[in-house]
């Protein structure tokens, strides 16, 4: 049976020792090990920090929190309403439902932030409706996905497969792998200046999760393409996919430009972020088999090096993100 298709509820309920797609067993296990709970972090500790942020810093923080808070369950919706029902492989289902579970945790985490800092709930959740550029980012995904959910795309036809592939691209690659990564940088810049450390410890955990969700997406897309080589015969479709990614970068850059303008926030300037986004986008393109578009092979945000090496926490000072679940 193909990776996506129509199945009965009786199908695909048996795990095999030799799964057809072993990578999803691996991704399921990795996600399982990464599970964490917001209660492990002491968000309350950052309240004084939050109060001492300058207006521009606060605005950036609020927007980043708002964007995540109103996107986490959207990511879950896309998977739940559109993708999960057409998955045919039991391990792939486990991997993607674990991702859906993790989005709960993320939502919950931002909910705790919202409550701890006494943020305006309406404003936070409405930011993707009221900020024109943020809305555009989210609309890009919503428009395309709403067209195909609830069985509107037939996974047994080539057209349906292309639609489903596109929705995963928008969700797991563009939303989680581009837009989220942009906001990650804002959070890590905060920690680099010694601010909001416990919140950012949580975001570090989210980064681990999202990098796994990104892999879920890449694996799903590569698998669909491998099983249906006709997809890449359609040159226009392929070009479209590539263009969608590049357009998304453009959208993100517009947003960053208005946020950062000609100044720095948390020690970061627009120029650096532009290069960073292009660097991330190139990597997404390469991961999907495209040639890079921008030719940037070094991450200009050097403080992100700190996310790449082993970490030792001073336990009495900052919530630790290094304990494993089992």
């Amino acid at each position: 049976m193909a990776f996506i298709g129509k199945t009965s509820v009786r199908d695909n309920i048996r795990l095999s020792e030799t799964p057809k797609y072993p990578v999803f067993r691996e991704l399921y296990t990795k996600q399982k090990k990464a599970v964490w709970f917001p209660e492990e972090l002491n968000i309350q500790q950052d309240v004084l920090d939050y109060k001492s942020l300058t207006p521009t810093e606060k605005d950036l923080f609020d927007s980043a929190v708002g964007y995540f808070a109103s996107s986490e369950l959207l990511v879950q919706n896309v998977l739940g309403n559109g993708f999960f029902p057409v998955l045919t492989d039991p391990y792939a289902k486990m991997s993607f439902s674990t991702q859906m579970f993790m989005e709960n945790i993320h939502s919950d985490f931002f909910e705790i932030i919202l409550n701890s800092f006494d943020m305006d709930r309406r404003k936070v959740y409405n930011i993707t409706l009221e900020d024109k550029l943020l809305m555009e980012k989210q609309e890009l995904i919503v428009r395309a996905v709403d067209r195909i959910t609830y069985g509107k795309a037939d996974p047994d036809t080539l057209e349906g497969k292309k639609q489903i592939l596109t929705s995963i691209l928008l969700n797991n690659i563009i939303q989680e792998g581009l837009f989220f990564y942009s906001a990650f940088a804002h959070f890590f810049a905060m920690k680099d200046t010694g601010k909001m450390k416990n919140v950012v410890s949580g975001v570090e955990l989210i980064l681990i999760d999202e990098s796994l969700h990104l892999q879920n997406g890449i694996e799903a897309i590569l698998t669909i393409v491998e099983e249906n080589p006709q997809i890449v015969d359609d040159y226009h479709f392929v070009e479209n996919i590539r263009q969608t990614i590049i357009d998304a970068v453009e959208l993100e850059l517009n947003y960053l430009k208005t946020k950062f303008g000609g100044t720095t926030i948390f020690g970061v300037s627009y120029n650096e972020l532009e290069k960073y986004m292009k660097y991330i986008a190139d990597r997404r393109l390469v991961e999907l088999g495209f040639d890079p578009q921008f030719g940037i092979d070094q991450n200009p945000l050097k403080f992100l090096q700190k996310e790449d090496v082993k970490k030792l926490t001073n336990f009495f000072e900052v919530s630790s993100t290094e304990y494993t679940n089992f």
Partner: protein, 790 residues
């Protein structure tokens, strides 16, 4: 892009890169560098990207700092540069306010930040002793930490203390005479030893609280619980860590006669302390913390193991508290031999609380007999192996409770006539007799072993080490009489026993300098030799002090067969988490965590590089950016980097997880042989060895450790490598397949060619296709078939 600088007075000027470049060159002054241009060029390149259109002068200083900081992992020179830039930022602002150390002191006394008595010293004399060049002893992480948290701030949180002023102010709060002050200043500013964080924070200030740790005991009564809650709140307020023994509190279901009701056990009471600590943690420079100690025969022990779980009923969870087990030998023996463990209610078996060793065994067996005869109301028999397994699982999962050994602590108790030792402290290195009426207090300092190596690196500089250790004994003993005691119980304990705790840091760095691998028998011998030396020197000094100042008062009230000394206990090896950062060395007796790693602290996140490794590689001309990337890609390990094979002694630079946990224990045990209090030892366990945890902790007990501390297990899931390229696609080509499908492209090209021929005729098209035209065609249609446009 035209950039502008907004100056401090509000005026605007055009941004000039040249000015900035000159300033960076100025930072390099005095450093003999082969290629300073390249260094400045790299920084300027980083900066160009960072500087926005509008920038203030202050921001510019900060961006220069950040630009340099980001280059630190590439070469050690950037660490020096960043340190100098940060110094420049600190000094410039202070110089605007104070012309001298004396002016600063006067201001700080007036503002009620420092004690007025400091002004009684001959300030001229002290000012002359200050050597600003010693700022260069600090590395960037150390200086950042100092600036962020240790240097004195005014009421508006502006830094008003230069690093050397800080060392001198700390020394002035400790020394009794100017000679003592200068001696202490010299040692501190050369990073030869450092006092613990509370001393560095508060020495010479009106807060006046020098101690790191308090250890109290809660009795089995509501009165006592509430009294200790209040005591804990005050101890925590002054940034002390508190260790608390809760073993006496009766278990769940135990009868309360005065109410004719049943007790709800220890957990709800522990929860009270969780709330207190959490309330006091808000806004502190260092989070106050508490650890609860329980002997594992207590009937509520199973719920105790779950306190740090993050799921389940929040009323039975204590996220702000730490927990530890105070484990008697008899229980370890039962675990080892697979005999069952019995759990009891301390209200019914009160003797178990203070009995230890053979006496505990006898009492425990008596309780078992009673239980089996049906004479006890509350008891439970459990499988000891299951319990041990479950306990270690919790330790790996939640980091708690730590494992400490009741009988090891008590058999070395120098003052058994005073009291038993009821528990250890927050970092498990304290071992001082205490009771509900007497709260143990310990004031700590740690010698930096890496600064006590002979010039030729042949051996430790034993004379210098002796001198430092003697200075430390005097300094710590001085502190006991200057210290503020937040409770009567804590004053009493100190005035009876005068305990101090001298520990170490930089052990691994020292080993590297001496060419001894940490994971070797030689390292164990070295540990033993150092510990014995520390014991001999400090005891002799304390005995000398006793002649001058008298022995600890309890000594005269009891009969002990050792000569009078000033302090009941003198040695304790603390984790030195923060002060080893200031000293820029490996912490405590631990191995370097990794050769490159990041550290999360209250001051933010920093990249730490194993400096001795970097220096050695640089000396041999092996250091390069590519190598740095390779080490990063290997998670900080150099063991599998082929190009270093045979070039350096790799075994010197194992990461913490690469050192056998059994060796880690051997080294701690070697120190423990001579350390009169305890050695706080975290264990680093490679995930593959996780199945051996039972064996590892059994070994720790058998080797005679008094305490273990955190258990780190290497986590295998990491985030996407942010700055390195990872190919997730593998061999698959994904959309790359599309480009190989050129048929479609060809078809499109044919179509274009057809249209072009229609429009321009065959001649033009042929000319374009063969490239025989001048320049490329501007027509989009023709451009698509032009070979040089492709």
């Amino acid at each position: 892009m035209q950039r502008i600088v907004i100056k401090r007075d509000g005026t605007v000027e055009r941004f000039q890169m040249k000015k900035l470049v000159d300033a960076i060159f100025a930072l390099l002054e005095g450093l003999d560098l082969p290629d300073d241009y390249e260094i400045v060029f790299k920084v300027a390149k980083e900066l160009d990207l960072k500087i926005p259109e509008k920038v203030t002068t202050e921001e510019l200083d900060y961006l220069v700092l950040k630009a340099i900081e980001h280059l630190i992992p590439k070469n050690f020179i950037y660490d020096t540069l960043a340190t100098r830039q940060l110094l420049k930022i600190i000094n410039r602002r202070i110089d605007k306010r104070f012309n001298s150390f004396k002016e600063y002191l006067n201001y700080a006394v007036e503002e009620k930040l420092l004690k007025p008595e400091l002004l009684n010293f001959d300030l001229e004399n002290l000012e002359n002793a200050i050597d600003y060049k010693r700022d260069y002893n600090l590395d960037y992480f150390g200086l950042s930490t100092l600036k962020d948290r240790y240097l004195m701030k005014d009421r508006n949180f502006e830094t008003i203390e230069k690093p050397q002023w800080f060392f001198m102010r700390v020394a002035m709060g400790i020394g009794n005479t100017e000679d003592e002050v200068i001696k202490i200043y010299n040692k501190l500013s050369n990073l030869e030893y450092l006092h613990s964080t509370p001393t560095l924070f508060n020495s010479g200030t009106l807060t006046n609280q020098y101690s790191s740790c308090y250890v109290n005991v809660i009795d089995d009564s509501l009165d006592s619980i509430m009294d200790k809650a209040k005591e804990t709140a005050f101890l925590a307020k002054y940034a002390g860590g508190v260790g608390t023994d809760v073993t006496r509190i009766r278990a769940t279901g135990s009868k309360i006669h005065s109410l004719n009701a049943k007790s709800s056990g220890i957990i709800p009471f522990i929860k009270i302390f969780d709330t207190i600590v959490n309330a006091i943690q808000q806004g502190g420079r260092r989070r106050s913390s508490q650890v609860m100690y329980l002997q594992p025969w207590h009937l509520d022990v199973e719920a105790f193991l779950d306190l740090r779980e993050t799921t389940g009923n929040p009323y039975f969870r204590t996220p702000s508290l730490n927990t530890a087990l105070w484990m008697p030998d008899e229980l370890m023996r039962r675990i080892k031999e697979g005999e069952p463990i019995y759990l009891f209610d301390p209200a019914e078996c009160p003797k178990l609380v203070t009995a230890w060793g053979e006496e505990f065994k006898k009492e425990y067996e008596k309780c078992i007999e009673k239980a089996e005869k049906g004479e006890l109301n509350l008891w439970k028999k459990i499988d000891s192996r299951d319990f041990y397994k479950k306990y270690l699982f919790k330790l790996a999962k939640t980091g708690h409770p730590w494992l400490t050994f009741k009988d090891r602590h008590n058999e070395k108790n120098p003052c058994p006539q005073y009291s038993v030792i009821n528990s250890s402290n927050l970092c498990t290195e304290i071992s001082i007799p205490n009771s509900p009426e007497s709260t143990a207090v310990c004031t700590l300092a740690s010698v930096n072993l890496a600064k006590h190596i002979k010039e030729d690196k042949s051996d430790f500089d034993w004379d210098k080490l002796k001198d430092t250790l003697e200075t430390m004994v005097v300094a710590l003993d001085n502190i006991l009489d200057k210290n503020f005691y937040p409770s009567e119980e804590s004053r009493k304990n100190t005035m009876d026993l005068r305990p101090i705790g001298i520990g170490v840091m930089g052990f691994h760095e020292a080993l590297i300098k001496l060419g001894i691998p940490y994971d070797s028998e030689k390292a164990v011998e070295t540990a033993r030799k150092i510990a014995k030396f520390m014991r001999d020197i400090t005891y002799t000094k304390s005995e000398e002090l006793a002649k001058e100042r008298g022995a600890f008062p309890h000594y005269y009230q009891a009969k002990y067969d050792y000569p009078p000394r000033r302090n009941a206990v003198l040695l304790a090896v603390a984790p030195t988490a923060s002060i080893s950062i200031i000293a820029g060395t490996s912490s405590s007796i631990d191995n370097y965590f990794s050769n490159i790693f990041s550290r999360d602290t209250l001051s933010g996140k920093f990249i730490v590089i194993n400096k001795p490794l970097m220096q050695q590689l640089e000396e041999k001309g092996l250091w390069s950016e590519e190598l740095a990337e390779k080490i990063k890609a290997h998670q900080g390990s150099i063991q599998y980097i082929e190009e270093l094979e045979g070039k350096i002694d790799k075994s010197l630079y194992k990461t913490a997880y690469e050192v056998s946990p059994f060796r880690q224990i051997d080294i701690a045990a070697a120190f423990q042989e001579y350390i009169d209090q305890a050695v706080s030892k975290s264990l680093y366990i490679e995930e593959d060895l996780r199945d051996k945890m039972e064996e590892i902790y059994m070994y720790a007990w058998e080797k005679g450790l008094k305490s273990t501390y955190y258990c780190f297990i290497d986590k295998t899931v990491k985030g996407e490598k942010y700055t390195m390229n990872v190919n997730k696609r593998g061999e698959r080509r994904g959309f790359g397949l599309a480009r190989k499908e050129e048929k479609q492209l060809e078809k499109e090209l044919e179509e274009i060619e057809r249209q072009a021929r229609e429009k321009y005729g065959d001649e033009v098209v042929e000319a374009v296709k063969s490239g025989n035209i001048e320049g490329c065609p501007t027509d989009p249609l023709l451009a698509k078939i032009c070979p040089s446009c492709e």
